[in-house]
Amino acid sequence: MVKKSLLAIGALLVLFPTLAFADDPSVAQLDMGLNAIWIMVAGVLVLLMQGGFILLEAGSTRMKNAGHVAGKTIFTLGLCSLIYWAVGYGFAFGTEASESLNKFIGIGNFMFEPSLAAGEGEGYPTSIFFVFQLAFAAVSLSIAWGGFAERAKLSAYLIFTVIFTAVIYPIIAHWIWGGGWLATDGAQDYAGSTVVHLTGAMAAFAATILLKPRIGKFNKDGSANEILGHNQVFTALAVLLLWVGWFGFNAGSALAVGDGFFGYVAFNTQLGAAGGAVAALLISWLVKGKADITAMLNGALAGLVAITASCAYVEPWAAVVIGLVAGILVFFSSMFFEKIKVDDPIFALSVHGAAGVWGTLSNGLFATEELVARGVGKPGLFYGGGGEQLWVQFESVVVCGAFAFAASFIVLWIVKKAIGFRVTEEQEIIGLDLSEHGNYGYPEQMKKAGTSV
């Protein structure tokens, strides 16, 4: 065996002498290659989170809308990719804007054409960076769909995808990640508690206000009805998919393999998610007398959303605390939204909004001096930094939240006035599978039910 192998290698060396004498890759090249692989893997993981959103949204809604809910996620992912390539990426990361304009928005790289390989001194190929950033934009968009669920017109999805991906999301991404004014102020949002999650949640909030609650959600006397999702197993599986995908989301945001710091980020991410799941189940058990599965699943996601901003800036114990608080917060937040009669079928406002705000603020509390040295900000309140970082974090939450809400509200308000935002009562009752697409996602089950309608 050994003899044969040696013989073969010898023959190959004779045939292709350059193999043995090619230049060894430089350390920088190796470094770039490793980074590229990791960011690509992370980007794919984040892209796979769309599978989580499909199952989450479909599982939390009714059977008659399942095909629509699942299918539109793939459609809008496609549309979002084209728009982000053509416009969005340029507004977020373009470098050709004047200094004063760059504070607000980037310019350049429209219809992005990446170079074939990483250039001298680049840590990774821009093509891979684009894929990674695109996946983030798509996640933010899918979060927004939570507020549309079960009653928005398909055309509204189309229009909102275009505007959100082209303008709304890129502007906020630019402010914090693209060298905009909040980045200059020292706002720290490692992987996007604000940029991705709060932005998406605010769009969902605007949508759900304009759409009004689903038929049958609230009674005349203001009491709420429970509209149960049709498949809790889907919902649980969704949370697992998102959880795993989040390692790409957070650890991938290191954008480098380097000294292995991305492992620390992943480590904190796991602690935050775990804290959220545990705290939410316990608090629901204590408050309602029954351990609520939906609350627990929301808690896991809330833990992930909250740790997203701070995963690279805090110590492990703080990651646990951030997760635990997020789990409790999401439980009370979902009760609050129901109380003020906001219908939030997928709990986007609580999971991505409330927990996103908490995660961003927590950075101003728990960020350590050693770790912020890798970021752009200052240590948090509990690490001798005073209230300065907390204030910057607060500012970024308020400004980004208000902008995302206002912009989404205006766009959707125009949609509502111009072409109508919500399907008709009849369409809503028969389900969007039939009204928007002409076929049921579950034909056997629904045809049987349909005969009695």
Partner: protein, 359 residues
Amino acid sequence: MSNPQREKRLRKIAVAGSLEKLAAIRESEQSRLSAEIVSSPIHTVVDSLNELHDELIARTIELAEIEMARLGHGAPPVPYAYLLFGSGGRSEQTLNSDQDSGLVYADPADDGKAEAYRAYFAQLAAIIVRSLITIGYPPCEGNVISSNADWCLSLSEWEGKIGRWFAEPNWENVRYLLIVADGRPIAGDLSFGERLKDRYFNDMLGNPVIARRMLDNTLRHKVLLGVFGQLLRERYGDDAGSLDIKYGAYIPMVNAFRLLALSCGIRETSTLRRISALQHAGVLTIGEAENASQAFSFFLRLRLLATVASEDGHRVNTGKISRARLTKELVGPLKKALKTGKYYQRKVEREMNGRFGGR
């Protein structure tokens, strides 16, 4: 205890010759009593209400016997007793309780008679149940009712049945044992009731472990008080914000004291009387008994006040106290009473665990 109002009512019921008359009496008496729910001491309201139900049911049974004779079946061939189970058995009926009932008759001398008796009492029970529906007692949803052949039996058949339930205490049989524990003869030869109880408590002594099974059967309904002392209200639907007083307060206490009473050989069926018998037996201190009675009376009152929704003309007790009724003044004492209920639910659970070990 001569009560002029009651005497007058008794006379009226005694001479009522038709179901329509009985229904009218029920209507007027109940509206008089429902005005007293808030003002009078609750046990007097519950007692008079249950006396009213007993009198109405007894008179209905007399009318049914007359109807049987009119149909040519003659008088009852042997003595029998009509049994009430559920809240009727416990003398805790509300303004709109349903029928849970059974019938027991003397053993026939030979097989030939057996069939004839069975036929007679089956028809009698059917008439009684139908008549009671007419005067506003809906039938039991669980089919625990004398018109069901399983609940209309001769004395030895009943004894055999109870024996089988004890011998094979699966979930359903234990449920039946719990139902029969609240049984009370209301008309006919009342001694049948005692004879069935003899059998029941005899078997109970031979199977102390049955108490453990009974506990498992009743733990599902928890007192609706959370860890932080908060009320566990309905969260969704038309009843959102209301408290399920029936299954979240009343039933858990009924279950707890039934179990304590059964394991001490106490034959009372009303919960308040069970509590005072437990005190006499030394199982509860005077203070505990007083506390428990107070809490339970409070639940009885709330249960009478529970939302009466009109469902196609029938009055229905949802057993829930609406959000609007749960005022600050009410919630304070309610929480205190629920705490007491929770205490006894735990106490019974602990005692059974102590006696028979954990699951």
